[in-house]
Structures are given as structure tokens and as C-alpha cells.
């Protein structure tokens, strides 16, 4: 009964998505207020019914209703409740349901929070989001119904993929999808602006906080994914340039370009055509990512269930959404005015440089991801593109990006005197060059050119941020002054930038140090035996059996000693899940600010001996810490007071109107 209810709710949601995408749009074009007013209730109704469907699937999992094929494949009575819920998005059908659930959530959020928008613009934005929703809802209903029944009903479920039974992965997909789908808001604003022919600073201001929030979620999602891979895959890696990872990284790169370009459009009215194109690009890459993951055109270690029929459906959908929006762009862009002028050396040109670099990197990642496919399609044979190619590309482009990152915040809009900037940055240049030389000498570790480069780039970012902060707080003294400054309009954007750029500096150190100074050891140990790893002594104290809720584990005990003093006891595990009988490693990790000690169990060699992999990972935490800072920067920027003030002002002016429109739902 409950699954049928969920299925029916999805059908109703699709009907409301049709209403949402047709009537408000037509109404906005021939100015029919009644039709325009349909947008908000339709968006709310759509959300309501998708939420019901989602709730139904969750309840089917919690009650172990194995008559539902999807639950029978991915659920199990022994699964802990937390993972029963996360099993909802553990495979294809359910993750699509999560996709549309989040999309309808974003739609409602826009309809509630963006009340200050002119009704016509809001109607168009919601309408475009409705169109995207139609595509995904029909994909769900026609090719991947999560509520399909199975007969005879199995007594036990196939269990959730053990790889996904980890807290990090339980929240990783929702975060990532919040980001992917959030890009649809920027996309819809861009389409609405193209339809209305009004690409102006107001448009940029409206879409900016939404884009920043979506970008923040994407950042968190990618960071969590990387952290999960490190904990769970047991080989100490944190990024694999796998097609599925690239699928999330490309929209992130495009969105990073977009939030910088939106700044120029909002402040200076320039780059309009470019900004709108980036907004289309960011969402297109999100959709392309979905296609790559779901269609099976590329192989991936993530190995989700794939199906060519579904691939064809998504491809047609891509053609309509991306092809349609790019055609609209081709038709409308020529008539857009060029906007604010600027000199050859100004903040605008630096941001343009940032944008070009980010787009080039995106193009390279796309090319690397699709190269096997392109080669194959052209009959040139088969290739696979790996680590070295992507890494080399990053080593080439990142330094340029970082140089611009240091200069950007200190450079004026419109016109900047290069000599003046050079004088301001002289100290930063000296410190970072000095640091770079020290970093490449064997002081802390054995020293390397790459470590020196990383130290130099990070110091460059940090020093130029410090100079910029000092200038900003010139007339404000001490902590009280800083506090005062935080309350001003525009401070959110500024401090968000500072924190996010600082995060990049931290990230660069983490990545480079862990790649340069990583120590790795494959070893066989008997109980009581010790081994030495990068100055630490690791003593193996044997392995005991342990019974988990739905798995059996061999649990090792490893004592970590430094100078004969015990600093940690690690318990790496080797689990065999009862149903899917796939061996899984749970690494034992001693987390530290400047280093991780990472132990992963190999296998029993008889007589209590075990083979083991030991890693010393310097500064590896800094990678995720940097990612977190970047996300916090996004949050600060999105919470800038100037957006809220704009909302409140408009609300008090249009308060009654908003209430009426709401009451209608």
C-alpha cells in the first residue's frame, strides 16, 4: 500500500511539474497575472508530493518491505537503521529520487526566499526549474521506478553495498546533490534573464547568493567524498581522477569561475555574456556528470549499476536542456550590451584571467575524462588516461591561478597602477620567495623543489591576504575594530573570500606534502613484533574476531609509540559482511595536525601473523581542512548582510502581496 502511495505521489508531482513549467512561463510572456501566480503553489505542491514519495521509500526500507524490488536489492533486516535510511540513495533509483527531492526543495526555497524578485522573473525562474524537474521525474517514472514490486517476495534483502556503510558516505551523496542541483538555480536565473532580455547587475545580485550556497555544498560533498575514500578504501589515497570524481569536480571548477565572474557582473556590470554562459556551463556539467555516472559510457571504480537504455534517455534530456539553453544563448547574447569598461590592468582583467584558467582546467579534466570514449569512437584504438596526466596539468596551471589569487584582492576595479600594486606586494613576494627556498631545503623533511613551490604559493596567498586585511582595517583598531567591521554591508563577501583563499593555501600544502613525503610500508608482522615507520614504532598485538551487527570482523591492535611513549592504539579491521561477503578494510588511523599514521590490515598468514600496510601521511588532514575552509568561506559570502537587507526592504514593501500568494497554496 505504502509503495503504491509513493508511486502515485510521484505521478502527481510530475503533473504539478508540468503545470509549473507551462502556465507561469506562458503567463509571464503574455502577462496573465493569474497564470504567473500559479508558480508558487505549483512549486510547493510538487515538493509536497515528492516529499511523500521520498518518505514512502524511507518507510519501506525501515520496515524491510522486500516486496519492493529496490528495497529487496539494497535493504536488509540486519542493517542498522541509519544505513537503512542512507540505503535509500545507495543505488540508482533511489539516488534519482533524492535528486528530484532536492530539486523540488531548491524550487520551494527560491519561491519562499526570493520574494523580492519581480513576479514575472520569479515565475520564469520557477518555471525553468519545473522543466528540469519534468525530465528527472519522467526518467524516474518511465525507466527507474523505485517502487516497482517483486514477486515472489524474498525473505531477506540483498544488503547495501558494504562500501557505502560508512557515516561519511551516508551524507556524501546528499551534499553533492545539493550542490549539483543547486546549480539549477543559477541556470534558471540565467535562462529567465535571457528570455526577458534583461541581463544586468540586478540579475547577478539575485543569483549570486544561490550560486555561492550551491557551490558551498558541492565543496563539502567533494571534500567528504575524498575523506571517505581515504578512510574506507584502505590504500591511503584521497583522490583518484576517476570519471565519477571528475563528474563532480568539473561543475565545481565551472561554478568557481561563475562565482568570481558574478562578482564582476554585480559590481561593474561587465562580463554579462560570459557570466551567463558560465551559469549554463556549470549546470550542464552537473547534468553531464549524471549522464556519465548513470549511462555506463565510461568505466569507473565506483561501478554503479548502469544501463544503456537509461543512458539514451539522459542523452536526449541533455540535448533538450543544454542544446535548448545554448541555442537561446546564441540567439540572445548578440543583443546584450557590453557593460562597464575597464583598463588593461584592473581587478576585472585579473578575474578574467582567473576565469580563463578555471575554464581551461575544466576543459582539460573533461578531455581527460572523455578521451577513452573519443579515441574509441574515432576508431583510434583504446587508451586510458591516468594520474600523471591530470597531475601534470594541475602543476602547470595552479601556480598561475595562485599568483592571480594573491594580486586580485589588492587590485582596484577599473584601473590599477601596476607600480603601486608591486609596492604593496613587495613584502609578500619576499616572504614567499624566502619561504619557498627554505621549503625546498632539507630542514623539516628531506626537502624538495615541489615542497618549496607549495610553500611559496601558500605564503604568497597568506601574505597578500594579510596585507589586504591590514589595509581594510586601517582605521579600525584591534579585535573591537574587526568586530565592528564584520557588521558592515559587504563584509560577508570580503571575509568569505579571505577564508576561502586561506583554505586554498592550506589545501596546497596538504596535497604537496602528502605526495612528496608520504612513507609507505608493506610488512608481515607476528604478534608482539614491532616495526619502525618514519620515526614512530608500531607494535602489532595480534588480531581478535569481533561480531558486528551485519558483519564479522578481524580486529587488529597496533600500538603506536614515539620515543618509547605510547601515543595511540589503532584498531584496523577487516570486515566480511554477512550478505555480500565482500572483504572490506576499515583502516586504523591516528589523526594528527601534521601527520596521520594509517594502518590497514592485509590478511592472516597463519600462526597469528598478518600482512599489513603502514603509511605515514604528513599534512594529509590539511587537504580536507582546506576544503572545509573553502566551504566556510562560501557560507560567509552567501550570508552577506547586503542580500538580507535587500530581502527585508523588499519584503516590507511587498509584504501583503507575499502573504496572499502564500495563502493560495
Amino acid at each position: 500500500m505504502i509503495p503504491e502511495l509513493g508511486h502515485f505521489a510521484l505521478i502527481l508531482a510530475l503533473s504539478l511539474a508540468l503545470v509549473l513549467s507551462i502556465f507561469p512561463m506562458i503567463g509571464s510572456l503574455n502577462n496573465t497575472p493569474g497564470w504567473i501566480a500559479l508558480a508558487r503553489p505549483a512549486a510547493l505542491g510538487q515538493f509536497f508530493f515528492i516529499a511523500i514519495a521520498f518518505g514512502c521509500l524511507v518507510s519501506s526500507f525501515l520496515t524491510d518491505d522486500f516486496s519492493v524490488a529496490y528495497v529487496a536489492q539494497n535493504g536488509n533486516t540486519l542493517l542498522p537503521d541509519v544505513y537503512k535510511v542512507s540505503a535509500v540513495w545507495g543505488a540508482h533509483e533511489g539516488s534519482l529520487l533524492l535528486w528530484v527531492f532536492i530539486l523540488s526543495g531548491w524550487t520551494v526555497a527560491v519561491s519562499m526566499l526570493a520574494r523580492h524578485l519581480p513576479a514575472v522573473v520569479l515565475a520564469r525562474v520557477l518555471s525553468v526549474m519545473g522543466m528540469v524537474s519534468i525530465g528527472f521525474l519522467s526518467f524516474l517514472l518511465f525507466t527507474s521506478n523505485p517502487f516497482a514490486r517483486v514477486f515472489p517476495v524474498p525473505l531477506q534483502g540483498g544488503d547495501l553495498n558494504p562500501l557505502l556503510q560508512d557515516p561519511g558516505l551516508a551524507i556524501h551523496p546528499p551534499m553533492l546533490y545539493m550542490g549539483y542541483v543547486g546549480m539549477s538555480v543559477a541556470f534558471s536565473f540565467a535562462i529567465a534573464a535571457l528570455i526577458g532580455g534583461r541581463l544586468d547587475a540586478a540579475w547577478a545580485r539575485w543569483s549570486r547568493p544561490w550560486t555561492t550556497v550551491a557551490w558551498m555544498f558541492l565543496t563539502i560533498g567533494i571534500t567528504l567524498g575524498s575523506w571517505w575514500a581515504y578512510n574506507e578504501l584502505g590504500w591511503g589515497g584521497w583522490w583518484f581522477w576517476d570519471p565519477v570524481e571528475n563528474a563532480s569536480f568539473m561543475p565545481w571548477l565551472a561554478a568557481t569561475a561563475l562565482i568570481h565572474s558574478l562578482a564582476v557582473t554585480e559590481k561593474r556590470g561587465a562580463f554579462k555574456r560570459w557570466t551567463v554562459l558560465l551559469a549554463l556551463l556549470a549546470f550542464s556539467l552537473s547534468l553531464l556528470g549524471t549522464f556519465l555516472v548513470r549511462s555506463g559510457v565510461l568505466t569507473s571504480v565506483h561501478a554503479f549499476a548502469t544501463d544503456p537504455a537509461r543512458g539514451l534517455f539522459i542523452l536526449i534530456f541533455l540535448c533538450i536542456v543544454i542544446g535548448g539553453s545554448l541555442s537561446l544563448y546564441a540567439a540572445r547574447a548578440p543583443s546584450v550590451s557590453s557593460g562597464g569598461r575597464f583598463d588593461a590592468f584592473s581587478r576585472e582583467t585579473l578575474l578574467l584571467g582567473n576565469n580563463l584558467l578555471l575554464v581551461i582546467i575544466t576543459a582539460f579534466v573533461l578531455l581527460g575524462t572523455l578521451a577513452p570514449l573519443i579515441y574509441d569512437a574515432l576508431g583510434w584504438g583504446k587508451i586510458s588516461v591516468g594520474f600523471p596526466w591530470f597531475n601534470r596539468m594541475f602543476v602547470i596551471f595552479t601556480p598561475f591561478l595562485v599568483v592571480l589569487m594573491g594580486m586580485g584582492p589588492l587590485t582596484r576595479w577599473k584601473h590599477q597602477d601596476p607600480g603601486d600594486l608591486a609596492r604593496q606586494l613587495r613584502v609578500a613576494l619576499l616572504i614567499s620567495l624566502g619561504g619557498g627556498i627554505l621549503g625546498s631545503l632539507p630542514i623539516l623533511h628531506k626537502g624538495s623543489i615541489w615542497a618549496g613551490l607549495a610553500v611559496m604559493l601558500s605564503l604568497w596567498i597568506v601574505c597578500s591576504l594579510a596585507i589586504s586585511l591590514r589595509q581594510r582595517l586601517r582605521y579600525r583598531k584591534g579585535l573591537a575594530g574587526l568586530w565592528q567591521d564584520l557588521g558592515t554591508k559587504g563584509s560577508g563577501s570580503y571575509y568569505g573570500m579571505v577564508v576561502a583563499h586561506f583554505g586554498v593555501a592550506v589545501f596546497i600544502i596538504g596535497v604537496t606534502f602528502v605526495m612528496q613525503y608520504n612513507v609507505e610500508k608493506d610488512i608481515r608482522l607476528s604478534p608482539g613484533q614491532s616495526t619502525e615507520l618514519a620515526g614512530y614504532t608500531l607494535r602489532f598485538d595480534g588480531v581478535q574476531g569481533r561480531q558486528g551487527p551485519n558483519y564479522h570482523a578481524d580486529r587488529g591492535t597496533v600500538h603506536v609509540l614515539k620515543d618509547d611513549r605510547e601515543i595511540a592504539v589503532l584498531h584496523p579491521e577487516k570486515r566480511v559482511y554477512t550478505v555480500q561477503t565482500k572483504p572490506m578494510t576499515e583502516s586504523g588511523i591516528d589523526v594528527g595536525f601534521t601527520r596521520d599514521i594509517y594502518v590497514s590490515l592485509g590478511e592472516g598468514l597463519g600462526n597469528g601473523d598478518w600482512s599489513m600496510r603502514l603509511y605515514y601521511k604528513p599534512f594529509v588532514r590539511w587537504i580536507w581542512f582546506g576544503g572545509l575552509l573553502i566551504a566556510i568561506g562560501g557560507l560567509l559570502a552567501a550570508s552577506d548582510r547586503r542580500y538580507r537587507i535587500a530581502v527585508r526592504d523588499q519584503l516590507s514593501a511587498l509584504g501583503n502581496d507575499g502573504l496572499i500568494a502564500n495563502g493560495g497554496s
Partner: protein
């Protein structure tokens, strides 16, 4: 006109991309070759399938022409090619090593007892980590390795008598000479 054409560029790029993606739907991505062909075999040390106390490593591949066959008991195609491997082993033309991939030691031993053991030795790669270094996409896969320990060829999918006679043995003979 040129003014308008400029804004068609993104659309044109997208059209090209769609053409590739459409073509991609009908291709089999599983047939990806190994970037390792022409490269030395990856370094590894694993336990032997028949004896967890003994180990087998990349050094064992030096000085003779060998085949490395990646297999597992859960793999249906491996069962299909197994008889062919047994026949090949009987001819004595080449040493066959096995990489038992993401498998259970006991099951794998029983399999060899039941269906015959064509392998000189088997490396036991229970969590598939060495398989990753070798670029294994799925079992079965077969590598041909020369005297210097350089991978010369990779075959993906089950071996048949035809493939052995037309591809494997001629290459082995060439490498031996």
C-alpha cells in the same frame, strides 16, 4: 554575421560532444587496454594461494617469458577459459602464473583441485589492491610478460583456442627467440 557566429561556438562544441556520447552508448568501455603495455610490471609482493607463508613477487617474473592470468572463482568467464589454460599448460610452451583476484582462498584451492591447476604459482590478491596496480578492470585478463619483466600484451576476457594460437603463442615464440 561573424558577430552572431561567435555565440554559436558553445552550441557547436556541445553538438560535437553529443555525437561522441551517442557513439559511446553503443561501445563497450570494458575493452580498455592497459596503459602498462610496454612498461615493466608493477612491483608487488603477495602470499601464494597454496601456501600463505610463502610469497610471490614481481621478481619471480624475471628471466623467462610468462603469462599472468587474472582469475577468480566468482567469475563465470574464468570457468569458461579454464580448460583452455589447462591445455596450454600441458603443451609446456609458456609458464602460466595466476593472480587470484578478490577471492576466497579456500574456494580458489577447491576450484584448482576440481578443474585442474594450469598455474606454476598463484598470487593471492584478496582485496584486489595489486589488481588495481595492474590496471585490472575485471576478470579474466591475461598479460604476456617478457624476460626483462616488461608487459608486452594484455588480453581482456576469456581466452579461446583461436586467441591462443593466433595471438598468444606467436608473440610468446617471438619473445623467446
Amino acid at each position: 554575421m561573424a558577430r552572431y557566429l561567435r555565440y554559436m561556438v558553445p552550441l557547436a562544441i556541445f553538438a560535437l560532444l553529443v555525437a561522441f556520447l551517442y557513439r559511446g552508448l553503443s561501445l563497450d568501455p570494458k575493452l580498455v587496454p592497459s596503459p602498462l603495455v610496454g612498461k615493466p610490471i608493477p612491483k608487488f609482493t603477495l602470499t601464494r594461494l597454496d601456501n600463505p607463508a610463502a610469497s610471490i613477487s614481481d621478481a619471480d617474473f624475471r628471466g623467462k617469458v610468462t603469462l599472468l592470468n587474472v582469475w577468480a572463482t566468482w567469475c563465470v568467464s574464468c570457468r569458461q577459459e579454464h580448460e583452455t589454460l589447462v591445455q596450454l599448460a600441458k603443451t609446456g610452451q609458456v609458464d602460466i602464473y595466476g593472480l587470484n583476484y578478490k577471492d576466497n582462498r579456500e574456494d580458489a584451492r577447491q576450484w584448482l583441485t576440481r578443474y585442474g591447476n594450469p598455474y606454476v604459482a598463484n598470487a593471492f590478491d584478496s582485496d584486489g589492491r595489486v589488481g588495481i596496480d595492474w590496471g585490472v578492470y575485471g576478470a579474466p585478463e591475461t598479460f604476456i610478460i617478457d624476460r626483462e619483466g616488461i608487459i608486452r600484451h594484455k588480453h581482456i576476457g576469456p581466452l579461446t583456442i583461436e586467441i591462443i594460437n593466433d595471438e598468444i603463442l606467436p608473440l610468446v615464440a617471438k619473445l623467446k627467440s
